[in-house]
């Protein structure tokens, strides 16, 4: 079985400050890990993924995520937040034997001017 936890319902950060959106996962084997973003009235948009290799993955819009196998975490980060980053962020995990991801509940990111 696979599962994802996003422990924060909401993250507030000031524009220009670094941001972190947390995600931990559980899978039986090696995971594929994904981050998606959802803007109002839009579908889930792919941000980045971890498959193998470097633990630090870079994605769209300046976001990056760090895979930490010992802590089973895949936190999303950005060095300098923008107001336009305000959205709902979903972490997802997929066991390599499956093509069905399990999503977290989502974290609402609010970036204040």
């Amino acid at each position: 079985a696979q599962s994802v936890a996003q422990p924060e319902d909401q993250v507030n950060v000031a524009e220009g400050n670094p941001l972190t959106v947390k995600c931990t996962y559980s899978v039986s084997g090696n995971p594929y890990l994904f981050w998606y973003v959802q803007y109002p009235n839009r579908g889930l948009q792919f941000l980045l993924k971890y498959i193998t290799g470097d633990n630090l993955v870079k994605g769209s819009y300046g976001f990056e995520a760090e895979f930490n196998k010992s802590q089973t975490s895949f936190h999303l980060k950005k060095p300098s937040a923008l107001v336009s980053d305000s959205a709902l962020y979903f972490c997802a995990v997929r066991d390599r034997g499956s093509y069905i991801p399990t999503f977290g509940r989502g974290t609402s990111l609010i970036v204040h001017p």
Partner: protein, 115 residues
Amino acid sequence: EPEVTQTPSHQVTQMGQEVILRCVPISNHLYFYWYRQILGQKVEFLVSFYNNEISEKSEIFDDQFSVERPDGSNFTLKIRSTKLEDSAMYFCASSDQGQGDNEQFFGPGTRLTVL
């Protein structure tokens, strides 16, 4: 940039009525999916579809649900007799491959409200 589209954006129906949610996946994709998100809860997998048949489905996808690809472009989710607890956001997704590290592309969703 190609995208997945869904219609309608919002559907209101009475309990017991049938609804059909429509999706147009990205044209060269071969794998199709439906997910739902009850307000404030996780995005949940419902069903995947490939080569004109269901390849995987979750416990949620019971006999009240069915999927169909009636033509070369549309992918539909039918709920035969809606219940109050079917009220949710329904997302369609597509991908060009099933397994592997490919990502799924999601539509904007249909908000279903069952009264």
